[in-house]
Amino acid sequence: MIDGVVVSKPIIPILNNFLFDIKDGELKISATDLETTMTTSIKVDAKEDLAIAIPSRTTLDLLKSLPDQPLAFSVNLEKGAVEIKYDAGRFKLTAQKGDEFPKNPGVDGGQKFTIPAKVLQKAITKTVFATSSDELRLNLTGVLVQLSANDITFVATDANRLVRFNRSDIKPGVEDSFILPKKALNLLKASLPNDDTEVTIDFNKSNAHFMFGDVTLVCRLIDEKYPDYKAVIPQDNPNKLLMDRNEFAMSVKRVSITSNKTTHQIRLKLAGSELTISAEDIDFENEAQEKLKCQYEGEDLEIGFNSKYLAEMIGAVDGTEVRLEMSQPNRAGVLLPAVAEENEHILMLVMPMMLNSY
C-alpha cells in the first residue's frame, strides 16, 4: 500500500528504502518522498527494538512473488545486512541504518477534525481529476479543503473547469482552509477503506496528518493562495438543460471522436427541446452530429466545450439525470445532478470554448 509514495528517482538515495521501525512488538513500515510520508503498522514477534532502512523495490518484488507465509527477518546492523528467510529459501539485502531515514514532520500547534473514510474517499474522487498539472500554478495542482463549523467543502480547478464538493453532515467545528497536494490525495484515495472507519485529520500551517486504522499519512500542504473561486461561480444561469446522464455522456463521447485531437472542441446547439451535439476536425475533414431530445428552458443557444472536460464531469456526477445550466456562449456552464443527495452538494463548472460566429 505504501509503495506508491516511493518515487523512481529520489533526491537522496535513502528515499528508495522502506523504514522498518520495531518498538514493543510493533513494526512500523514507512515510505517517504520528503513531501508525503506514509506509515503502516503490524504486530510482530521481535527480540529487540531497532530501526533499519531496507530497499523498497527489491523487498516488494520478493513479497509479491511469495505465497502467504511467515517470514523471518534477521538484521545485522553492523554490516548493514538483512536476511529474509522463507519456506523455500533465503534472501539477503543490504540495508542502511534507520536513523539516516528522514524524520516525520510533526503537526504541532494544529487543529483536528474527523471524517468517515468513505466520505473522504468520495470527496477526493469527485475533485482530484479537476486539478491542474501546471507546475507554474502550484496553487491549482491541489485540492482546497475549506472547513467551517457546520460543513466541509472541497474545491478543485485547473482554471478551465472547477468542482465544488460540499458535505453539510460533516461538522469540523473549526474555521480554516488548506490545499492538499494531488499525490497525497491519490494515495489516500487508493488506501482508504470504503466504509465508516473514522479518519482523524490533524493539520497546521505546513502539514496535514491523516490517521485511519493502522495507517498514517503525513503530507506537506501547498503553501500558496487559492484563487477566489466563489467569485467565478455564476449564480442563476437562466438556460437550463435536463438530460439523461448516460445518454448525454455516450453522445458526447461518440461525437468527440471526430473532434480536433488537440482542442477536443464540440458544439452544443439548443433550440426548443432539441439538443444538437456536433464536432469537426478541419485538418482531417472529419465531422459528426447527433440530435437528442431534451428538456430545455431558456433561449436558443450555441456553445462550445472541450469534450474531454465535459465527459469527465458528466461521468463524475451522480444520479440518472444531470442538469447543465448556461447563460451565454462565453460564460461558464454549471453541471449539477438533477436530484441532490442528502447533505451533499456537488457543483461542476466548465468554461466554454470560443465559437467564431460573428
Partner: protein
C-alpha cells in the same frame, strides 16, 4: 513499384507576374524587392542573373552589379492571386499535390501512367497553365522529389525534362553539389574545402565520411546525391505558423517604440488567428542586432488566440531576449503550433468584458478592415494586406 514524382516551379515568378502587368519590363533586367538600400532581392529576371544577381542578395549590392536594373516594389496580393489560379488548375488535374511555396509544387503521379502517360499528363498540365496564365513554368519528372527538383533547375527557363527511372545517379553525377537541395552556402564552402565540387565525388564517397563531417545531415545529403529520396508528397496543408517582422530604416534602441511595435504585431497576428479560427501554443520573438547576429526565444503556452495573453508573453520574451545594449535592426514575432479551434475560456485569466471587447473589435475589423481599430500603443505597426496562411514570405 517506383514512384512518378513531378516538381513544377514557376520561372522567376514575381518578375513574370510584373511583366504581365507591365509588358515594358520584358527583356530587361528586373529586380523585385524593397527598393531601399536595406531591402533584399525577392526575385530577379534571367537578364539580371547574368550580372551575377541572385535572390536574397541585398538590394544595394544588386544595384552595384547592375545599375540599369529596374526595381519593382512588388505586390504580394497580385502574386498570391496568380498562385491561387495555378493551384486550382493543378488541383483539377492531378490526384495528389503538395504546395511547398507560392510558386512551387510537387505532384505524385504514381499509377497514372497506365491511363495517361505521366510525362504526357505533366506536359499537358504545363501547357494549360501557360495558356491560362501566360506565365513561364518548368517541370521535371522522375522517381522522387529531390531528383525532380534538381531536374526542374536544369530544365529552366521555361522547359521540361524527364529523368527516366534508373538513371537518377547518372543524371546527378555531372552536376555541381550546389544543385542538391539542402546544400546551402555553408555546406557548400565546407565541401569545397574538402575538394568536393561535383555530385559524382559525393556519390563515390562513403556515407560515414560525410556523416562525420556534416553530422545527421551528412547521411541525408549523401542519399540525395545517390538520387535516393523516399519522402512522400504531402497533400497541400495550411501553414503551421504565422509570423511578421520589421526591418527598420535605421537601427534603433528605442525600447518603447520596439515594444509598441511588438504589441501591434501581436495584436494583428492574434486577430488573424481568430479570423481563421486558429489557436497558437508557441510564441517566438526574434531580434536581429545591427551586427546581423540574430537571436530568437520561444515559449510554449496553453492554446490561445487572445490578445492580452499573447502580448504579455511577447513582452516577457522580448525583455528576456533583449539583453545587449546594442542597436536593433529587425524584430519579429511568430506564432506556431497552430490548431483549428476556439479559445478555451479560463476562469481567472480574463473577464467576460474582455471577451466581449475582442469580439466587438473583431467585428469592426471585419467590416472596416484590420486597420480600423487597435491598441493605441501598437498603431505604429501597419501590417501588409496579405494573408499569412497561404505561404507568402513577408
Amino acid at each position: 513499384m517506383s514512384h512518378q514524382i513531378v516538381h513544377i516551379d514557376l520561372d522567376s515568378f514575381f518578375v513574370s507576374v510584373e511583366r504581365l502587368i507591365n509588358p515594358k519590363l520584358i527583356g530587361k533586367p528586373v529586380l523585385v524587392g524593397g527598393s531601399s538600400d536595406r531591402g533584399v532581392v525577392a526575385s530577379c529576371s534571367y537578364e539580371a542573373r547574368e550580372y551575377g544577381i541572385h535572390s536574397a542578395m541585398p538590394m544595394r549590392q544588386a544595384r552595384q552589379l547592375c545599375p540599369e536594373a529596374i526595381i519593382v516594389r512588388g505586390d504580394t496580393s497580385e502574386y498570391s492571386k496568380y498562385s491561387d489560379i495555378i493551384t486550382e488548375i493543378i488541383g483539377e488535374t492531378v490526384p495528389m499535390y503538395e504546395k511547398t511555396s507560392i510558386d512551387e509544387f510537387y505532384m505524385d503521379l504514381t499509377g497514372m501512367d497506365k491511363f495517361f502517360g505521366c510525362y504526357k499528363l505533366a506536359t499537358e498540365l504545363r501547357q494549360r497553365i501557360i495558356k491560362e496564365t501566360n506565365l513561364p513554368i518548368s517541370f521535371a519528372l522522375s522517381a522522387n522529389k529531390t531528383v525532380s527538383k534538381v531536374g526542374t533547375g536544369e530544365a529552366k527557363p521555361n522547359g521540361q525534362k524527364e529523368i527516366p527511372i534508373g538513371t537518377e545517379k547518372e543524371f546527378l553525377a555531372p552536376l555541381s553539389i550546389r544543385k542538391i537541395p539542402m546544400v546551402g552556402d555553408k555546406t557548400y564552402q565546407l565541401l569545397r574545402g574538402m575538394g568536393v565540387m561535383w555530385i559524382r565525388t559525393l556519390q563515390e564517397m562513403p556515407m560515414e565520411l560525410l556523416q562525420q563531417v556534416l553530422g545527421e545531415n551528412g547521411s541525408l545529403i549523401w542519399r540525395k546525391a545517390q538520387g535516393i529520396d523516399n519522402s512522400p508528397v504531402v497533400p497541400y496543408s495550411e501553414r503551421k505558423s504565422i509570423s511578421t517582422e520589421r526591418t527598420f530604416e535605421q537601427d534603433t534602441i528605442d525600447v518603447n517604440m520596439l515594444k509598441g511595435l511588438l504589441i501591434g504585431m501581436a495584436e494583428k497576428l492574434a486577430y488573424q488567428l481568430r479570423s481563421e479560427q486558429k489557436l497558437t501554443a508557441c510564441v517566438t520573438v526574434k531580434i536581429r542586432y545591427s551586427d546581423f547576429n540574430t537571436y530568437t526565444m520561444q515559449a510554449r503556452i496553453p492554446y490561445t488566440s487572445l490578445d492580452h495573453l499573447l502580448i504579455d508573453k511577447v513582452k516577457e520574451l522580448f525583455d528576456k531576449l533583449y539583453q545587449k545594449r546594442m542597436l536593433i535592426r529587425l524584430i519579429g514575432i511568430r506564432f506556431s503550433h497552430l490548431v483549428h479551434g476556439g479559445h478555451q475560456y479560463n476562469l481567472f485569466d480574463q473577464t467576460p468584458e474582455q471577451i466581449q471587447l475582442y469580439q466587438a473589435m473583431d467585428k469592426i475589423r471585419k467590416r472596416y478592415g484590420d486597420e480600423a481599430v487597435a491598441r493605441a500603443v501598437g498603431t505604429d505597426f501597419k501590417a501588409s494586406k496579405m494573408n499569412p496562411f497561404n505561404g507568402i514570405k513577408r
